[in-house]
């Protein structure tokens, strides 16, 4: 949220600046198995966002102090490439990437059957190649497909999706201008088959009714993205070498 501004984000006919309806998502494209060196990988293109996720493991957790005797730990590293935005980003970890890595790891831990791999570590690398608002959601979706591709047991394929508020109107899947000049952002990690929420953050203010509408949009979008995720995994293995 860049804060309130006098930027007009809705047209006079009620549609958004890029022509989408209020409950319309940017196009999503997913490809599984894009990195041959990783145990599992995926690339998610969500609007102009491009996220690549790679999964390694399960492997012995090092250093030993991070080992858990009853479960695996999920080590997530979210990073934005220096060329991912119009202004060059300084390479390396920063406060934002640490925060997103942490919340993503916690979201994934709730779906991966971590108890099957005590003392192990599952390493998830998320690299954002192009950013246009909603990279943490694209990263979570890519990580879920990569984990499935690596054969890691999970309760469900978690989907990252966001809604928000612009000009006092709830909209689905904010783009860059809407994210920068809008009033609220509500990214969530949804388990589409059970309807559970594994991750939720909110930036800005939403009334209870606005929150309910935003969540309704999020659940609807999660179903659509989930179908694309399943198709991507099936496309990789239906006729290929397995």
């Amino acid at each position: 949220m860049g804060g309130y501004g006098d930027v007009q984000l809705l047209r006079e006919d009620g549609s958004r600046l890029d022509g989408r309806k209020l409950d319309e998502m940017r196009p999503v494209k997913i490809e599984a198995g894009v990195l041959p060196a990783a145990d599992g990988s995926a690339m998610v293109t969500h609007g102009l966002n491009v996220a690549v996720a790679a999964v390694y493991g399960p492997m012995e957790a090092h250093p030993r102090k991070i080992q858990r005797q009853d479960r695996a730990v999920i080590d997530v590293r979210y990073n934005m490439a220096p060329f991912s935005t119009s202004d060059r980003i300084r390479p390396g970890f920063n406060r934002r990437s640490r925060e997103i890595s942490k919340v993503t790891a916690e979201a994934l831990e709730s779906v991966v059957l971590v108890e099957l791999y005590p003392r192990s570590k599952i390493r998830v690398e998320i690299e954002i190649l192009a950013a246009e608002a909603g990279t943490r959601c694209a990263g979570i979706t890519a990580a879920a497909v990569a984990l499935a591709d690596a054969g890691i047991p999970m309760r469900d394929l978690i989907v990252g999706v966001a809604s928000g508020k612009i000009e006092d109107t709830v909209v689905l899947d904010l783009d860059k201008a809407e994210d920068n000049y809008g009033q609220a952002d509500l990214p969530v990690g949804i388990l589409p088959n059970t309807g559970e929420i594994a991750f939720l953050q909110m930036d800005g203010d939403l009334s209870p009714d606005e929150y309910n509408l935003a969540m309704e949009y999020n659940f609807k979008a999660a179903k659509e993205i989930h179908e694309v995720m399943v198709e991507a995994l099936q496309r990789r293995y239906q006729g290929g070498d397995v």
Binding site: D39, G40, G57, P58, M59, E60, Q69, V111, L113, Y117, P118, R119, S120, L147, A148, D149, A150, G151, I152, P153, M154, R155, D156, L157, L191, P192, N193, T194, M229, V230, L233, Q234, Y237, Q238, D241, V242
Partner: protein, 241 residues
């Protein structure tokens, strides 16, 4: 959705299934009601519904539903015959790389030789390859190996080829039939470890042929043209001989 239709009478050899249709399932996909059926590997039951937890082909055997995963890491089980590399040597034990998440431990008491304390390195050093059996795996994934048993030994010659763990059964074939065929054609000794490592010993041409054949079986073993390709490779090998 989620169905794989076998083309041109395609069979998947690894499980010996001949059905016309197999279902590819993804994590979270509902398989069906759990009543009267047992959940096997890759399946959990939630509110009387069976749910897949892994990406793979759905199987039903003896009233048990399971998922044959497309990718899987080697999870050691007691009794597994494996090909392991020595990764570290201590005074009284060896740490072995077993191609899994954790190293296996081979204490000197379970080695096939009488080993003096401090003399472990004289028997096996880092990089040596052994044929061993998994003696014990505890709930924390501590793996203990043994080399006491018929045929368990240090492998001083030959080559080791890696295959995906999920394709070990495919390489063996029904009742080891395919493995025997590869042994006969290559004129090599071949041992398939449960951990996806295959030891091949013979002349260099035989080893090279066996390595090529193993790769082909892992990649094409489920397709219709597999039998023809293997027959052609066997003929070529005979011709060379």
């Amino acid at each position: 959705m989620g169905c794989r239709f076998a083309m041109d009478g395609e069979k998947r050899m690894s499980q010996g299934q001949t059905g016309a249709e197999q279902r590819l399932v993804t994590p979270g996909m509902a398989i069906g009601p759990s009543a009267g059926k047992r959940a096997g590997s890759g399946i959990i039951t939630e509110q009387d519904t069976m749910i897949a937890t892994q990406l793979g082909w759905l199987q039903e055997k003896n009233n048990t539903m399971s998922v044959h995963p497309i990718h899987s890491a080697y999870m050691p089980r007691s009794g597994d015959l494996i090909v392991a590399n020595v990764a570290e040597v201590r005074n009284n034990l060896w740490f072995m790389d077993i191609n899994g998440a954790f190293q296996g431990l081979l204490p000197m008491s379970l080695a096939p030789w009488k080993v003096e304390f401090g003399a472990a390195r004289q028997h096996m050093d880092v990089g040596n390859v052994v044929l061993a059996r998994v003696q014990e795996v505890d709930e924390c994934h501590n793996v203990v190996l043994t080399m006491k048993g018929v045929g368990l030994r240090r492998l001083n010659q030959g080559a080791v080829e890696n295959i995906p763990v999920q394709h070990v059964d495919r390489v063996r074939g029904e009742g080891n039939s395919l493995l025997q065929r590869l042994r006969d054609a290559s004129d090599c000794r071949i041992m398939v470890g449960e951990n996806g490592r295959v030891w091949i010993d013979g002349d260099s041409n035989g080893i090279a042929w066996a390595r090529k054949a193993l790769k082909m079986v892992a990649n094409k073993g489920h397709t219709t043209e597999f039998e023809a390709i293997l027959a052609e490779m066997e003929q070529e090998k005979k011709g060379d001989a």
